[in-house]
Symmetry: C2
Subunit: 181 residues, 2 copies
Amino acid sequence: MRRSSEDTKAVILTAARERFAADGYEKATIRAIAADAEIDPSMVMRYFGSKDKLFAAAAEVDLRLPDLTALPRETVGAALAAHFLDRWEEDEGMMILLRTGVTNEVVAERMRGIFAAQLGPPAAALCGDPAQAPARAGLAASQVLGMALCRYVLRLPPVVALSREEIVHWLGPTLQRYLTE
Amino acid sequence: MRRSSEDTKAVILTAARERFAADGYEKATIRAIAADAEIDPSMVMRYFGSKDKLFAAAAEVDLRLPDLTALPRETVGAALAAHFLDRWEEDEGMMILLRTGVTNEVVAERMRGIFAAQLGPPAAALCGDPAQAPARAGLAASQVLGMALCRYVLRLPPVVALSREEIVHWLGPTLQRYLTE
DNA sequence: TGGCGTTGTCAACACCCGTTGGCCTACAGT
DNA sequence: ACTGTAGGCCAACGGGTGTTGACAACGCCA
């Protein structure tokens, strides 16, 4: 046997993540993914069952938020901005979710769940009033996702031109205000 | 003849805008648009030539920004936030562009042009330094588009629950800072 | 060496898409 | 009343999609 089953499964998954991140669910065809993986399309079906299941496997995402309550309170905004920039550049899972969540209700629901589960608790811990926490988490999400949209997806030139430090400088106070003031 | 040529063309365009806004370019099929308009798919081709041209006709957008320099300088942030909320709720063109610009390079380029041409000049007029203007316009775009993404596209429940006044209250100072400070 | 399960290939199915051309139908002008 | 034309419908083409099943090559184990 040329390769182990697990090996080719990993090769397919890597190719799938790249295609889904670049093209979104609809335009990323199984044939194209298989071609990238230098393999037959039927192998994708054998190992993942269906395009839906392949996407589900490719779209597993963890925000990996640090423990914001362990930081000096006045630095959480900048820390969040810096963390999301890193996360977005090292994990194509972010792009996968955003590129298809915009036109796919199932994926949108998944994004809602991720942000509620992972951004909600730290927001609640930071702002005193638990009733305000979800709104504040939502506001922070709007700025973080908006930056990602403009910089990595739409690639607005002035936003792409910003350095990491500049973005942290501008978004830090915004997130700080949304979460703690 | 049942209807005038212009009438059915308008009916098709209305149906197309709704479908494109709801589903994006790929998932909005000509057959579905024609069914909504209660007409044969071939009529769409006769009146608009191709799906691409139909989309181009459906995706004409004008931000209709007010003259920000005519307002008291300390109110431009809130004015911008309020204006974009209105614009987003009354014109499905915004949704059309966002839903397909995310996975379509041609439409993304169109969005870049719209924001550069329409948000750039007011930003340059507001902040003293012309060299900083594009970056500031880009930052404002990131917050405005991020809010639209979370509220109207992804429908994050806490963001949907926010009232118009609350959004203006939270985004106003952010946009004010991006544009004028 | 002979068998057998695993890995991979090939061809095809059934479906949906954008698009096309021919045909029908109803009105306007004479 | 007849005809020309414009609005509308129908059936089909060619291509691409996800998915399936039969078949071939390889390497382990007895």
